[in-house]
């Protein structure tokens, strides 16, 4: 069954088995961090855990790769 996660409090629907990166991308959220120097937006690029562009903060833990991390009901993504 479809469930929800949130990004900065906003709900995003997830199909079971989807990664956090895939769910966000599908919901039209294509960037969730900015780069250290240029402040450039980043989201998915390689999609398979190689490029580290998609680093994301989930439930306050250290950054993980959104393209590898399977979403769970209630996961809270924060971007700031």
């Amino acid at each position: 069954m479809t469930f929800q996660i949130t990004i900065d409090g906003r709900a995003v629907p997830v199909e079971p088995g989807q990664t956090i990166g895939a769910a966000l991308h599908a919901a039209g959220v294509r960037a969730w961090r900015t780069t250290r120097f240029g402040g450039r937006p980043r989201g998915l690029f390689c999609g398979i855990g190689v490029c580290f562009d998609c680093l994301i903060t989930v439930n306050g833990r250290p950054p993980e790769r959104a393209c590898l991390l399977e979403a769970r009901p209630g996961d809270e993504v924060t971007t700031a």
Binding site: P16, G17, F37, L44, V50, C51, F52, D53, E70
Partner: protein, 466 residues
């Protein structure tokens, strides 16, 4: 954190929960659960070897057989058969999913494969033989705007679709070079995206005489041609996306007509929300390189592990199959896995398998020759185009390093820092080598995956207590 974390589908019943680290001892450890790794592991297990297979993914499948959980949907040809193999393997071997191998150490003729689970546990697998079946990743080329969200690698778009059922975008452009662009485009179109075109930088033969279609060995290949026609996806040769535009996300691309060396002849803009772009693949060979395996240069210029006709590398007890010994597609990967499994078990390799392998390898090399990367792409770059996305190193800094006297990729890296970030040069390594005027060298990454200090400390402990 609860040790029953099944976030990436770690099969809990297989993992003892009462210890911080788990150890396995087996005859053969296999790294990689794609067509090569699964075939190798199953073949060896059927010959009576004890086998542990490790993959960082949530499910077996690798890149080609990536699939969502539960009942397999979508029509990846061969998936049913692969899943039967995977089930048979599960009954005969340990399958550790969600385990990332970050290094392999040697102690005499024993090898130890060090893995890390998502919840931070370390797992060591002691084995006599190791099969490296780690596949490849996309080989991107930099161009202005390639770091805009909405620009994905071709494989990334495919992984979104195959693994998550997510169509990468609404109005999609597919670009790059090589036969892989076809399944990406037809997959996206079949799933409802409007694919505005496939821009193949090489070509000249056009779609009708595309070598994969012309080989006609499988309905699968001919199917791409039909699907392209059915979805009215234009296939344009000698054209490429040379720039991406947008404020915060991709809004348009510049498509160029190219000469044979990929110099720009004429350009036009195309509005789109997504670009899937890829210029071939980079075999993942670092585990073998760190173990001292010799490498050779494949027909596409990439360093790959050198193997004999039984898939044996030059390092004792280390075997390799699939993309790490040269990109050639999933049939070849599976066949090489089987050959390796037989050879590790000490069974002679039937001549028919050896001949098939030679044929498929030759076909793979022919594809490399038909779809090379031509130097003209360097003319697409602007001074501020990022080469290294991690450390945000623009072309100008790389060129400045070359002017300062850097003579190869390694010294460019020391001066300008491309390839020093999280991805360890996996994404920019090929481009930096080209800019430095050399062929890409075997990567040196003693730690194949970023890991915690805790895991490193445990490895030290490990050396103290044999």
């Amino acid at each position: 954190m609860s040790p029953t974390d099944d976030r990436v589908g770690v099969p809990n019943d297989r993992i003892p929960h009462d210890r911080v680290r788990d150890d396995y001892t087996c005859d053969l450890a296999v790294v990689g659960g794609g067509p090569a790794g699964v075939a190798g592991a199953l073949t060896a297990a059927l010959r009576g070897l004890s086998v542990v297979l490790v993959d960082s993914g949530a499910r077996l499948g690798g890149q080609y057989f990536r699939h969502p959980p539960g009942a397999a949907r979508g029509g990846t040809p061969g998936l049913d058969r692969f899943l039967r193999q995977a089930r048979a393997l599960g009954e005969r071997a340990e399958v550790l999913l969600g385990h990332q191998v970050w290094t392999v150490t040697r102690d005499g003729d024993r090898l130890t494969v060090h893995c890390r689970t998502p919840d931070g546990r370390t797992v060591a697998i002691r084995c006599r033989d190791l099969l490296i079946a780690t596949g490849a990743h996309d080989r991107p080329l930099p161009f202005p705007g390639w770091d805009l969200p909405g620009v994905l690698t071709a494989g990334g778009a495919q992984a979104l679709l195959k693994g998550n059922g997510v169509v990468a975008g609404g109005r999609v452009v597919v670009a790059g070079t090589g036969p892989f662009l076809l399944p990406v485009a037809t997959g996206l179109a079949g799933a409802g995206a409007e694919v505005l075109g496939v821009f193949e930088a090489n070509g000249g033969l056009g779609l009708a005489r595309h070598p994969v279609l012309a080989a006609g060995k499988a309905g699968e290949a001919a199917g791409y041609g039909l699907a392209m026609a059915r979805h009215r996806v234009p296939y344009r040769t000698h054209q490429a996306v040379i720039a991406a535009h947008g404020e915060r996300e991709l809004e348009a691309v510049t498509v160029a007509r190219l000469d044979a060396d990929w110099n720009v002849l004429a350009t036009r803009e195309l509005a789109c929300d997504t670009l899937a772009v890829g210029y071939g693949f980079v075999p993942q060979i670092e585990l073998g390189v760190e173990l001292g395996c010799e490498t050779r240069q494949d027909a596409d210029g990439m360093p790959v592990l050198a193997v004999d006709d039984r898939q044996r590398t030059t390092a004792r007890g280390v075997w390799a199959a699939g993309e790490p010994v040269g990109v050639g597609g999933r049939y070849l990967a599976e066949l090489e896995g089987r050959i390796a499994g037989l050879a590790v078990a000490g069974v002679p390799v039937p001549g028919v398998l050896a001949r098939r392998r030679r044929r498929l390898r030759a076909f793979g090399e022919a594809l490399h020759h038909a779809y090379p990367v031509k130097p003209g792409w360097q003319g697409w770059l602007r001074d501020d185009t990022l080469v290294c996305r991690c450390e945000e190193v623009p072309v100008a800094r790389v060129r400045a390093a070359l002017e300062l006297g850097a003579t190869d990729a390694r010294s460019v890296k020391l001066l300008a820092r491309p390839g020093m970030g999280w991805c360890q040069g996996r994404i920019c390594g090929y481009a930096v080598a080209c800019l430095a005027g050399e062929s890409p060298r075997p990567p040196r990454r003693p730690i194949a995956q970023p890991i915690s200090l805790g895991a490193l400390a445990e490895l030290d402990l490990d050396f103290d207590t044999p």
